[in-house]
């Protein structure tokens, strides 16, 4: 490969020698996903706005401000769920003193490409199946990864992370990845998934307990991965716990702890997982708690499903 032409010829031949066909399952997964994925509406913004005189501009700004504040109050009213705290009874609409007005946090869509986030409140929405808002400190990264996953994580690589996911498939044995999934797969209820996770071999899993998060009932459990891979044949990424419909897996590294909330949100089984590793710093752990406390769930139906027993 001494001359430029020889180098280019060799590089071209090397590039041509790879895989050329998309796997059928990938194409089928896409076709399946678009069946339930809405398109974005094309809201064309005019390049020019009508000229407004100053009083009208002031009035329009005031109206827009009221609408934004009202919309935010509608979307995120009712206070935080304190997900990190103990289970609380389903909130009732009892009269309470109106809180003093506080600044409304700016809401942003959690981006679809992995991004370093500015401090603020983000909505994990379309295409993720359940709109959830959370407030993150500056410097965390995150994204909506598709219809079944949204996550935020500390940028340090210490595996401090909070994920929101929707899935049915649970691995049979995180220590022996090639065993595949539990058979049969857990049913569609919160209890079925909680039981499947609690029964996982190899991991240390607490007994599922009843919780209520932002008015939605569910189960909470904590999973801790073995301290080492010795004697195990886990997945390349770690101890595989569950798999999302498009193939991404949740895997735990040795010694990692993952708190899991399984909630029935108007018929959708939302799983919130807060993971931290032995390498996670005290600050990262505190940030995780703060993010958990900020989580608010706003499904299309406003009432929690009655199917989950208290």
């Amino acid at each position: 490969m001494n001359d430029e032409r020889s180098f280019e010829r060799t590089a071209r031949a090397w590039l041509e020698s790879g895989v050329n066909q998309a796997p059928d399952r990938a194409v089928q997964a896409v076709l399946l996903a678009i069946e339930t994925t809405p398109q974005e509406r094309d809201l064309r913004i005019p390049w020019r706005f009508p000229t407004m005189n100053t009083p009208f501009r002031v009035a329009a700004a005031a109206v827009i401000g009221v609408m934004l504040l009202g919309g935010a109050a509608y979307l995120f009213g009712g206070g935080g769920p304190n997900i990190g705290g103990p289970a609380s009874p389903t909130p009732s609409p009892s009269p309470s003193p109106s809180p003093a007005p506080s600044p409304t946090p700016a809401l942003r869509q959690l981006p679809q490409e992995q991004t370093v986030l500015e401090a603020g409140t983000y909505v994990a929405g379309d295409p993720f199946g359940v709109p959830v808002s959370l407030t993150v400190p500056g410097g965390w990264i995150g994204r909506v990864g598709g219809p079944y996953l949204a996550w935020v994580a500390a940028q340090t690589g210490n595996q401090a992370e909070i994920s929101l996911s929707l899935f049915d498939k649970v691995f049979a044995d995180p220590c022996h990845y090639t065993q595949g999934f539990v058979d049969p797969l857990p049913g569609p209820t919160v209890e079925a998934l909680a039981t499947a996770l609690a029964d996982m071999p190899a991991l240390d899993v607490t007994t599922p307990t009843d919780v209520t998060v932002d008015g939605y009932r569910g189960k909470q459990l904590t999973m801790t991965a073995p301290a080492s891979r010795d004697g195990c044949a886990p997945a390349r990424e770690g101890f595989a716990v569950w798999q999302l419909p498009l193939g991404a897996i949740n895997a735990m590294s040795p010694g990692q702890r993952q708190r899991v909330w399984i909630l029935d949100v108007a018929g959708q089984r939302l799983v919130i997982a807060a993971a931290e590793s032995p390498d996670s710093t005290g600050q990262e752990r505190a940030e995780i708690e703060a993010i958990l406390d900020s989580i608010q769930i706003e499904p299309s139906a406003s009432q929690p499903s009655p199917s989950v027993s208290p």
């Binding site: 590089a11 020698s17 896409v30 398109q39 770690g238």
Partner: protein, 183 residues
């Protein structure tokens, strides 16, 4: 690529979009696989790109540019997949390994290894330009349009990729000679 299919898909026709998916998925996967050098990541990038394309299709202003547009989405999906948290990697796959596509008479095993090692050290944006130029045979201007970058940027990325790849190959060769002397 039929403009009519694109326009129908823009109006929400899923069958029309499925037809487009079948037309472009092989080429997209091949490019993603070559940029990422990993079949699992390439598969994920393909899926993310196509679902993103479906969602954003109503925003496409020039239906005739669908193919270039979806390639741009794919490259960004490749960047995102490469940065993705390791925890969310996909690996329940049984794809053939790279080398199973058949030996190439023009590339020796040593050259192949050198190129592979050198290429994996390149930044992703340089890899993308390199792949579009040398694999798809795209001129730099077209690469720039496809990726949404200035032509000068495309040119410099190709230049640096080529230079780095040649340097890496040379370094590997020298290292091999050195190890041969020490053995």
């Amino acid at each position: 690529m039929e403009r009519e299919s694109v326009e129908r898909a823009q109006r929400g026709d899923r069958d029309a979009f499925a037809s487009l998916v079948h037309q472009v998925s092989d080429a997209l996967f091949a490019v993603a696989h070559r940029i990422l050098r990993d079949a699992d990541l390439a598969e994920d990038a393909l899926q993310v790109a196509l679902i993103t394309a479906w969602r954003q299709l109503p925003h496409l202003r020039e239906p005739d540019r669908f193919e270039a547009w979806v390639h741009r989405i794919l490259v960004h999906a490749c960047y995102a997949e490469a940065r993705r948290s390791r925890r969310w990697a996909t690996n329940v796959r049984a794809l053939p390994a790279d080398g199973l596509a058949g030996p190439d008479a023009h590339v020796s095993v040593a050259d192949r290894d050198e190129l592979e090692r050198g290429f994996r050290r390149l930044p992703l944006d340089q890899r993308a330009v390199f792949v579009y130029h040398h694999y798809l045979g795209m001129p730099l201007v077209e690469i720039a349009e496809t990726l949404g970058i200035p032509a000068g940027t495309a040119r410099s990325r190709l230049h640096y990729a080529t230079r780095a790849l040649r340097a890496a190959i040379t370094a590997d060769a020298e290292l091999a000679c050195e190890e041969g002397r020490l053995a």
